[in-house]
Point group: none
């Protein structure tokens, strides 16, 4: 009967569980059919709750997508710790970047794909995407590049621009892989090496 303020109560835990349960179902259905073709009915079925219950935890179908974006942002941030561990010279940095990115995509690619699809076409959502997903990643890449330059390892002309280039590269590879390019999918490490070779030709 005694509850500390910090530990979530049984009720709160159940509520959090339900939320997660619904969000996961939504992610699954969205990934399969895309956001507009996904129906709340199917999400409810997959989540094994009634349709009404969804609306006890989310304002709207759209809100489910926002919830998924938030989870994505969280997943990206969770990588931060690892990123800080990234060391080595430019070549190693790129190899680690590619490696980590692939792992991130393996876990969150389905969600990222759906989010991207919608975000391309919903200006308001795009703003949200920029704030919570794109901007933080830019910042982190930029910091790393800046850091490397200060350590005299490599000296790319402009950290902000270089961060954009790298970020765009990763995003583009993701999109093309999602569209079914087999080479990008199967020869990821070779791609990493090609990238290393391209940027450190000497």
């Amino acid at each position: 009967m005694i509850e500390t303020d910090e530990a979530p109560s049984r009720q709160e835990r159940r509520a959090a569980t339900r939320r997660a349960q619904i969000l996961e179902a939504a992610a699954q259905v969205f990934a399969q059919k895309g956001y507009p073709r996904a129906t709340t009915a199917e999400i409810a079925a997959v989540a094994d709750v009634s349709e009404g219950t969804i609306y006890n935890y989310f304002e709207s179908k759209h809100d489910l997508l926002v919830g998924i974006m938030a989870e994505l942002a969280q997943a990206l941030e969770a990588d931060e710790g690892f990123e800080n561990a990234m060391t080595g010279d430019g070549a190693d940095f790129l190899r680690q970047l590619m490696d980590r990115r692939r792992r991130f995509e393996d876990e969150n690619g389905a969600m990222l794909r759906v989010v991207l699809s919608e975000v391309l076409v919903d200006a308001h959502l795009a703003g949200h995407y920029n704030e919570t997903l794109a901007a933080p990643q830019f910042a982190r890449l930029q910091d790393h590049i800046q850091h490397q330059r200060e350590n005299g390892k490599t000296a790319p002309a402009s950290p902000p621009l270089t961060a954009r280039l790298l970020s765009a590269l990763l995003l583009g590879l993701f999109v093309e892989r999602m569209l079914g390019d087999p080479i990008i999918n199967e020869r990821w490490e070779d791609l990493a090496e090609a990238l290393v070779a391209l940027t450190t030709p000497a």
Copy 2:
């Protein structure tokens, strides 16, 4: 009533005009609202035809999107002539590539954005996209790289992989620009230079 096979009759010409008129309207509305939120009613209104007429020229709403993809593919191919004119060493090649790409996006970005959004989420469409848009571009980039290597200008390890990297970079930049990144939008030439610097550091 007698028609030669070569010269399009008045009727055929009018039909082609109608088709183009409808397709353009569709592109405009799709760009504005995205494919699923666009309605055939609005497309008909913009095209200044009745809804029924659309179905005399296209099987379905989905078919309009396919038609737009075909136009995109044509637009990409139209660049080929220019691409063949691309010469110069690696740095110049990249500069021209970026420049040409930007022009392409300025003209066809709205359509590309919609197509991308849908293609990310419709496997069948993705296949079509790969065949008509992605693959040809890969091939052309690859040829250029191959050609450059043979001329001893640059020697990227693997033309197919390098082509993918470049293609992904362009695609990623497009997506991030569409999502509202101001730097990519406004400092495109600086980005090109940063790319040159990155790949030819020595």
Copy 3:
């Protein structure tokens, strides 16, 4: 093939018919179940059209109610001609007023009942009701009273207030009759006489 601008074309006539058909069905269902409990599905069934068709002629379910109010207003105005014919001294005036009112209610009571029910609870609709139904009736009553006074027949202190009193009396009788009062329903003419007696006691 030749159409004058004045005569409605076949299409326009059909459209008007459909509109009327739907509106009548709506009035019937609204009268039976009240506005909120009436469903568009049932209205469609009664009108013998599909649900979708309703929305080709009306913006929303709410719009059906507004349409009905407009018809009511028209019906009230249609009485105007008759009203102008009302002559006689005060007593006759009241008798004719009651008589005419009863006829109006017999034809439009079902609709008026529903409109009243909603209007009592929807401020925006109430405004519309005032403008299109209440105000014109006040004005007409007021004019008659004014006219009578000028002819020296009766001299109610204040035409605007007297008009309100009469209007309120009619409305109240209608409401109580709708609520099931048998006396008001069955002894309408006696009520008229009681009213005459009450207002002209001497």
Copy 4:
């Protein structure tokens, strides 16, 4: 554990309090949104109880409305004491009637408005309304008129019909005031005088 029948126990008192608390909240929310648009969730929130609790005291949402009607009837009856105090000739009687009615409306108008709106459209509720609200008021008005006649003050032809006329007048004034007529709202006392003048012209 032992309870006498007369004194309500603490529990009973608390229960009565809860009931009143819920009913008041319901009245408030009904008045604001109308019966159908009011949600049990909001009523619960306003009453500061859970939704479930409502159903411990009332069978259904509809039952809340019935409860409110009962309160209205009680409020009307409470006026009876005062009414018995009404004396004076016909003119004074009308003035007091109008004055008392206005006070009643000021306190219970919000509830009456909602009840009226529903009662107009729900036959079963209408029956209940007649029994508990309309009929008692008719009876009381009738009694007064009868009483006056016996005292030789005024002699309206038929007490039952005159009672209906007066009752309808009051109801109609209420409805029109609720619909936003500013004159009825602001010149209530003048209306009373106009009524006096109308019925006692000599």
